[in-house]
């Protein structure tokens, strides 16, 4: 039980007034950005990241993870009260959450949503606590070829398992990898793709791109769709909360099933959206009366929320243990780690024990404090939506600009952000997914370094990626995943219909 002792130590690091204050501030800011239309988890974290630049890494990550929790909780408020999902993975929550609000059971639906987010995240954090140290100590034995194989696996699984048209995922990913290469080459020190521009020397900062891609483009999209909200006000009383909690044990199968689906899909990249739909669909399939779903059934809130939050949280597991983010927000947190001079990956557990266990402990604490906070403050936050969008939109633009500038103190980055805003808007409209782009941009240099170091080690022999059982099986798995749609089709033709069905979690839209 080494993990347990270290976790206790993590709590000790956290329990100072200063950290607790930061936690509250982070949660409030997080709920705020979660409730605001046009902002959500990744945007909120990206925009508020600059606030933490001058803090020490532990305080910074505590605040950021609390912003993230807050944004997750906040997203549920808009889905249920206003039928606007703040994030793609809250879509399934609106199916039953909004009807409940219409029937005057908004308080119940909100309590269910918050509670199930809490449970889903808690299960995922438990998983992280015990699994992450094991994986990272295993990964300590990894050399460059193994790391490259894992990166390859991440990229290939996006292409093979993504729901978008394959060529669009490939475009998005190769563009991200290319842009990551701009600037000084880390191995040889030579300049690449700068075209003599001194601004491009620094390279394209990942966070600047994210703020543009998500923040600015989201504002453009929200304006385009014209905001007309119609929703319900709600306040939650203790009686409703206790009533919902009392019924919780009856739904333990749903909660457990959704947690497991969420954790599983969260570790594979890009799984949160699929997880929420899968949780919802399975709950519906196993229910005795599936037709009552979609009409305001509390299980229809429990199932997707638990799965979405379990997967959103477990996406942090590969980020901490291997340095590979499983979601957009995890990628941004990873970007943050690099800003604070920490090198994400298995060494983090050895070299920065305080930081890692502080983060894990803050996930527990932030989750509990967040639950209490949202349950008590829902009416205040719901009323944020009464603020006209014409006032909110320019404020978001200003926050984005501040965020983009603060990263490297460069005016050029504000223009870059604007450019990425347009790119993000167009990409979203024509169906080029942004998640692979983000991931590729943050991992590009590391993947390239791993590749080149393995090539230097092996004298340019590609067989190094099959040189031992471990690296060989990861590489092979990556290639299988890349061609999964074709392989799946082939298997189906031979008559293995069952195999394709079990892998069919991806084809839900």
């Amino acid at each position: 039980m080494e993990a347990f002792g270290l976790l206790l130590h993590g709590f000790a690091v956290l329990l100072t007034w200063k950290t607790l204050m930061l936690m509250m501030v982070g949660l409030v800011l997080g709920i705020f950005v979660g409730v605001l239309p046009g902002l959500g988890g990744p945007n909120g974290v990206a925009i508020l990241l600059p606030l933490t630049f001058t803090m020490d890494p532990t305080s910074a990550i505590v605040m950021l993870s609390c912003i993230y929790w807050g944004a997750l909780f906040g997203g549920a408020i808009t889905s249920i009260l206003f039928n606007i999902p703040g994030e793609a993975w809250s879509v399934a929550t609106t199916f039953d959450g909004y009807p409940m609000a219409q029937q005057g059971r908004a308080a119940e639906a909100l309590t269910a949503a918050f509670t199930s987010s809490f449970i889903g995240s808690l299960v995922a954090v438990l998983l992280i606590t015990f699994l992450a140290p094991m994986i990272s100590s295993f990964a300590l034995k990894f050399g460059p070829p193994e790391f490259f194989a894992v990166y390859l696996l991440t990229f290939c699984s996006f292409v093979g398992l993504g729901r978008e048209a394959k060529h669009k995922t490939v475009i998005s990913m190769s563009l991200g990898l290319l842009l990551a290469g701009i600037g000084m080459d880390t191995v040889s020190g030579q300049l690449r793709m700068t075209f003599g521009s001194s601004e491009l020397l620094r390279g394209i900062n990942f966070l600047v791109a994210v703020i543009g891609l998500f923040g600015i483009s989201e504002i453009l999209l929200t304006m385009e769709e014209r905001l007309a909200l119609r929703g319900h006000a709600a306040s939650i009383s203790l009686r409703v909360v206790l009533g919902v909690w009392k019924d919780l044990p009856r739904y333990w199968v749903t909660l457990l099933r959704s947690s497991i689906i969420g954790c599983w899909l969260g570790i594979t990249p890009g799984g949160a959206i699929a997880a929420s739909f899968m949780g919802y669909n399975l709950a519906k399939r196993f229910a005795k009366d599936p037709e009552s779903f979609g009409k305001g059934r509390i299980e229809g809130v429990f199932a997707p929320e638990t799965a979405a939050h379990a997967s959103g949280t477990s996406a942090l597991l590969p980020m901490l243990a291997l340095g590979i983010p499983g979601s957009g927000t995890a990628a941004i947190l990873l970007g943050g780690l690099m800003v604070w001079g920490l090198n994400p990956g298995p060494l983090l557990f050895v070299e920065h024990k305080d930081f890692v266990w502080g983060l894990i402990a803050s996930m527990y604490l932030g989750n509990v404090v967040g639950l209490v906070l949202v349950l008590t403050t829902v009416p205040i936050f719901a009323s944020i939506l009464r603020v006209p969008f014409a006032a909110v939109a320019p404020m978001i633009v200003v926050s984005c600009a501040i965020g983009a500038y603060a990263i490297q103190n460069a005016m050029f980055d504000i223009w870059l952000m604007l450019g990425f805003g347009i790119v993000g808007y167009v990409f979203k409209k024509i169906g080029i997914p942004l998640a692979p782009f983000t991931l590729a941009l943050v991992l590009g240099n590391r993947a390239e370094d791993a590749f080149r170091l393995s090539m230097i080690g092996s004298g340019g022999d590609l067989k190094v990626f099959w040189s031992n059982g471990l690296v060989g099986s990861i590489t092979t798995l990556a290639i299988v995943l890349l061609f999964w749609p074709a392989i799946g089709g082939l298997l189906a033709r031979i008559g293995w219909t069952k195999a394709t069905k079990s892998a069919g979690g991806k084809n839900i839209s």
Binding site: T54, A165, E224, A228, R230, S237, F389
Partner: protein, 180 residues
């Protein structure tokens, strides 16, 4: 325990009518995007080939990795281009309607101006102008409310970033006059 009775209704004051004509179809935009990406792939590919995209005694040269990536990007966009051309025969989806385009421009143009003003007058002045102007002109909100909100927000940002957290923003002549 208040519930549904309290309905929050937020409507856009300048809500235009639906069924406005399409400005561009998704297919057209997809073709343009693919052509641009193809051009980008070509430029970056050429630059990397010039840097050196082959192998030398120590392993791959600096341009090796990005060169092959630009080939992949080029291949993907070429495929997208052909797919978009083939899809053009069917019914086309709307990319934006005129009313939508007007709304997008209503936020994009001010943002562009904001960036320009930031370059010359500093971020805080630009942010005050953006918020006040946007609220007044686009949102049709009362002048005093717009000015007050803009001032308060800008002031809070200034205190939070420049003073409390030491994150220094670009400044212009106005801040200089106050000694910052």
């Amino acid at each position: 325990m208040s519930q549904t009775d309290l309905e929050i209704v937020v409507d856009d004051p300048a809500a235009p009518e639906e069924n406005s004509p399409s400005v561009a179809s998704s297919g057209t935009i997809e073709i343009i995007a693919c052509v641009l990406l193809l051009a980008l792939a070509a430029i970056l590919g050429y630059d990397n080939w010039r840097t050196g995209a082959s192998w030398d005694s120590t392993g791959p040269e600096p341009g090796y990795f990005p060169f092959y990536l630009s080939l992949i990007l080029g291949g993907g966009s070429l495929y997208g281009l052909i797919a978009a051309f083939l899809a053009r025969r069917g019914p086309s989806e709307t990319f934006v309607t005129r009313a939508q385009a007007r709304r997008v421009m209503a936020v994009f143009v001010p943002t562009l101006l904001f960036c320009l003003v930031t370059q010359f007058l500093g971020l805080y002045v630009a942010s005050f102008l953006l918020i006040a102007g946007f609220m007044r002109l686009v949102g049709k909100i009362a002048m005093w409310k717009s000015l007050l909100t803009a001032f308060l927000f800008t002031a809070i940002m200034f205190v939070t970033f420049d003073i409390a957290f030491d994150v220094i923003m670009p400044k212009g002549p106005l801040e200089a006059a106050f000694g910052y």
